[in-house]
């Protein structure tokens, strides 16, 4: 049955029972707003919204379960970038009436699977018709200890730059099933002072300059050190985007200890020093090509 025939109340009646519940949720999806409990003392709240659009972030042929996973995983990756813990999600589905109820349910299953994997409760949603491609927007709220959040702006000259995992070639399939690095990020800030951090969504070539600019410093990168996925060129590793790995800056005095402890703790995920921040305002590595830039 397609959505045109089903109508909104019927759609919600099918989707709402798929959502998990939690005692912090006073009132979940189905009323005008969700009602949830406040934060424990000593915490700040994190807020993030992101979206995936048919024809841009996924194709009409993409498995809907993977699309739902990606829609939830993208803002989760931003929580990793701040070293925060996500709690609640709001989901907006903008969907043409030709899509089937089954397609919607599979999207929701993917959203819910990603949410459960990271302790997130979907507490509300909205559906709208569109005469065009489908879009799924996910907003997340969560928390972080007052002294533990990491922005992009705290990097200093001489900090070493590290990336988790490998870069490049994500559009071959990984972009639909990546794992947000929340566990790794929480471990990092528990054991080390991380000066600046972000997740790589537009490609190292676009994202690293943003971190450096926010920190008011320059950077230099050893291109050959950039950890690449099998078969990817350096240019791909820099420009493809949608890696969703962490890029962070840490004092060089911590570098050896970090590498040793990381490899003990995350033996299946590589951690690589790719360069450092410096005090030049023009970056020494002026050839670094731009990553994926929206609208271009």
């Amino acid at each position: 049955m397609n959505l045109k025939k089903a109508g909104e109340d019927r759609l919600l009646a099918q989707l709402l029972p798929m959502l998990s519940r939690h005692r912090s949720v006073v009132l979940g999806a189905g009323d005008d707003c969700a009602v949830v409990s406040g934060l424990p003392k000593g915490h700040l709240q994190l807020l993030k919204t992101d979206c995936v659009v048919e024809g841009i972030h996924f194709t009409t042929e993409s498995p809907p379960g993977a699309v739902g996973w990606k829609a939830m995983a993208r803002p989760l990756s931003d929580f990793a970038a701040m070293s925060g813990l996500p709690q609640f999600a709001l989901v907006t589905m903008i969907v043409p009436g030709e899509k089937t109820l089954d397609w919607m349910k599979r999207i929701y299953r993917g959203l819910e699977r990603a949410a459960r994997s990271f302790g997130v409760i979907i507490v509300g949603g909205e559906t709208s018709n569109i005469k065009g491609p489908a879009a799924i927007s996910v907003s997340l709220t969560g928390l972080v200890e007052k002294d533990r959040w990491v922005g992009r702006g705290g990097g200093t000259a001489k900090d070493e730059l590290f990336v988790t995992g490998r870069l490049g070639g994500s559009l071959g399939g990984r972009h639909l099933k990546f794992i947000p690095r929340i566990e790794e990020s929480r471990w990092l800030t528990k054991h080390f002072p991380i000066h600046a951090m972000m997740d790589l969504s537009d490609g190292l070539g676009a994202d690293l300059p943003r971190l450096a600019r926010a920190s008011g410093v320059g950077f230099e990168v050893d291109e050959n050190a950039i950890p690449r996925h099998r078969g990817c060129s350096i240019t791909q590793a820099i420009s493809d985007g949608e890696d969703y790995e962490l890029l962070f800056a840490i004092s060089p005095s911590r570098s050896v200890s970090l590498k040793k402890r990381w490899h003990r703790r995350f033996s299946n995920l590589t951690l690589t020093r790719i360069g450092r921040l410096n005090s030049s305002f023009v970056t020494r590595h002026s050839k670094l090509p731009a990553g994926y830039v929206h609208f271009q």
Copy 2:
């Protein structure tokens, strides 16, 4: 200049300075997540997302400032429905590359104008390309006193049903410039025990049955009592939708006092008793036609 040429960093550089700031915002738009302070004691958090889509909630010819206003005002109306106070907004703009930077800025000005009018800070956003109609999704967080939130489910048989303002004909233009009834809703819960409340977005004919169902009761409506906008038929007042007025249930013992005090406080906004809840499971007024139903 259109968005294809401008690119995301340039777009953000133009839009971000338009946003207002507040001391509760530790880190606003521009980093991976927004960071904001937690709730004062004795409060719960409210979460809501909603969207407007080109060709559905506005047309290509609609003034962009009014579209931005509507995109923010819709979830604000849901805050009114719960008697909550909105605090922070996340904005997702899904926009084809052909739209101009000027169009985007005018949308943002409308969003910001609505936000300021109700004490809301826009703390984050996301932009994406789409090969199709534009869509703007707004997520709001806010707060409500633990003993003051009003859901749809607290109505009891014999409660009287009231609506604020007049219904019908909104699509003639009011849907782009309506005022969310937050002030009225806060006043109501300050002075009276309100059993159940919601905002009328899909039309009384679709929304009232939802309130009754959530409360586990039936309802009866005096059609002739329904307050209509000039030139609207009863059917239009019931079915047009997008009224964004409040519908609420209150004990009949409060009815006289409510009307008297309301008219003193809100002399420019009518308040009308349109019927009551009852214990029948089939509604006595079986002719009430459905309001606007999504996907149909």
